[in-house]
């Protein structure tokens, strides 16, 4: 049995109030709150171990370096990569996607080549490819969305051909909650030797990730969506890809030898980590992954699925409410629209009830266009949310309806 009250006591912010009302934080798809264990890991680093890494011979530098590299090991284990060299620290999912677009894909693209993405992608898994396509004369191809929020994977055989040089899809939609059958996409792409990038920004916090079992070529995620700090994330890439990729940024730490004539680059993964990295972020993210592992990602998944089912049932009973995204396999996200009431008004009124939700297009404008709506209100739940909180959210929605008539 998942002890939600015990878990909640790990998150100081969950005990705070907003406008005199207990905070109900339901904007977890945007960013998650931090447990004391993560906060302490950063305080501990700054208080006792901090120095720059990979450089100094002095004690603190060695200590920081050891913690930083231990964090890489933690990430490797969390997503079951083969080896630590396959983990590159980046600022977040966005930078991970940009890195692959610049260092892997762009040098390989010819005019007329194709990049296959889907209609439900977050802007961060659209625009980096669009920029690369514009620079090379390549084109974006789109896996279409079905009415229920699933991708139309029956379109894959028509879309996948030898002109496609990379497939990039989200594991779990941030605006619809849909969990995609990425294994099927990867299998069909690999039949044509096409590498696949999985955007794990949402999935990382909600389900077990095994990159070897998935057999994806690239997997990216952000620390702040899994109870860690902002400004840090990780890119997993298969070793043979990393070995054959151009550097992303130039700077310190990514080199072995520098002269004005020629620079010899460092080994992977350091080749892709120019400059002093986000040391405290990396260590905070590792603390978050350990925290999640201790709770057990399977237990988290099970609890969140129960919460999602309960929330979907409660919200469906509200007259005039329509849930956007009703795929059979979903993570704990419910996007909805209310008859005749704009999401922006919904968000303001719910906020005054202490309920934090996201309103807008959620950086997925093509999804909004597909449903012909400007925006939705999104409730995104975490393992620290409770059944009582779901009731409070439903009550706040009812209040919106009362106030807006």
């Amino acid at each position: 049995m998942f002890d939600v009250n015990k878990v909640r006591s790990d998150f100081p912010i969950l005990g705070t109030t907003v406008y005199g009302k207990p905070l109900v934080y339901a904007d977890n798809a945007a960013s998650t709150q931090k447990p004391q264990q993560v906060i302490d890991s950063i305080t501990e680093l700054y208080s006792n171990h901090y120095a720059n890494i990979h450089r100094g011979v002095h004690h603190l530098s060695q200590k920081s370096t050891a913690l930083y590299e231990a964090a890489r090991e933690t990430v490797k284990n969390f997503i079951n990569a083969r080896q630590v060299e396959e983990i590159v620290f980046v600022r977040g999912t966005t930078e991970g996607v940009n890195l692959v677009a610049s260092s892997y894909l762009e040098p390989r693209l010819e005019p007329g080549d194709e990049i296959l993405i889907s209609e439900m992608e977050h802007h961060s898994n659209i625009i980096p490819w669009q920029l690369t396509a514009e620079r090379t004369g390549a084109f974006l191809k789109i896996i279409p969305l079905l009415e229920n929020g699933d991708l139309d994977l029956s379109a894959l055989p028509d879309l996948i051909n030898s002109k496609v040089k990379l497939v990039a899809v989200t594991h779990m939609s941030n605006s619809l909650g849909t969990i995609n059958d990425v294994s099927r996409i990867i299998e069909q792409a690999h039949a044509f030797d096409i590498p696949v990038l999985i955007d794990g920004a949402q999935s990382i916090a909600h389900m077990p990730i095994d990159v070897q079992k998935l057999d994806c070529d690239f997997f990216v995620f952000s620390g702040h969506k899994i109870y860690g700090p902002t400004g840090i994330g990780a890119l997993y890439a298969k070793e043979n890809h990393l070995l054959n990729m151009e550097p992303y940024q130039g700077g310190g730490d990514m080199i072995l030898n520098v002269s004005f004539e020629k620079t010899e680059y460092n080994d992977i993964p350091y080749k892709f980590e120019a400059g002093t990295p986000n040391i405290e972020g990396t260590i905070g993210m590792a603390a978050a992954l350990k925290y999640v592992s201790e709770l057990g990602i399977e237990a988290i998944d099970e609890y969140e699925q129960e919460l999602l089912a309960y929330a979907a049932k409660q919200f469906s009973q509200i007259e005039g409410l329509k849930i956007i995204g009703t795929a059979p396999k979903k993570g704990s996200i419910i996007s909805f629209v209310l008859d005749g009431i704009h999401p922006h008004d919904v968000g303001t009124i719910m906020d005054m009830e202490g309920v934090a939700v996201r309103t807008g297009h959620h950086c997925t404008q093509p999804v909004m266009d597909c449903y012909n709506i400007p925006a939705t209100t999104r409730v995104s739940l975490s393992f620290y949310n409770t059944v009582d909180e779901v009731d409070q959210i439903a009550k706040a929605i009812t209040k919106v309806k009362e106030l807006m008539g």
Binding site: H342, H344, D345, T348, M352, T359, P374, A375, L403, M404
Partner: protein
């Protein structure tokens, strides 16, 4: 709840449900599109200006209650006003929603628009209330690009 009632006053709810001057003007001298990329609010504003006076004004589009009612009340308010006065009202309205001090005369001059004073308590919503006004200035300046609140 009192701040919310202050924000969503009856007149605002009424103009949201039944926006006035909600149509395209076939005959118009000025026109502009407004867009708030943050929340997807979009509106199109039409003006017919004859000898410096706004003889007709209308809008179409979709948005939240604050942006729709603000556009609706603005069109009602500006009909018959001169361009010169209109720019002056823009400044006063902007001060009103951003919480700047307005003297009694300026406040009275805004008439019904004073209901938007509640917006100053909600910084995230200032752009909703001011979208139609920014679009108006763009239309008067005949800027062809959509007005953006960003």
């Amino acid at each position: 709840m009192s701040e919310l009632r202050e924000l969503y006053q009856e007149v605002i709810l009424d103009h949201n449900k039944n926006p006035r001057n909600f149509k395209k003007l076939d005959l118009h001298s000025h026109h502009a599109n407004g867009h708030n990329p943050l929340c997807g609010d979009k509106l199109e504003l039409f003006l017919d200006v004859v000898e410096g006076i706004i003889t007709d004004i209308s809008f179409v589009g979709s948005g939240c209650a604050i942006s729709t009612s603000s556009a609706s009340l603005m069109t009602q308010f500006l009909k018959g006003k001169s361009i010169e006065e209109t720019r002056h009202y823009f400044d006063n309205f902007h001060d009103l929603v951003t919480g700047k001090e307005l003297d009694d005369e300026a406040l009275e001059g805004l008439g019904k628009l004073a209901v938007f004073a509640g917006v100053q308590e909600f910084p995230a919503r200032v752009k909703c209330a001011s979208l139609s006004w920014h679009t108006l200035i763009n239309a008067l300046d005949s800027v062809d690009e959509p007005a953006a609140t960003e």
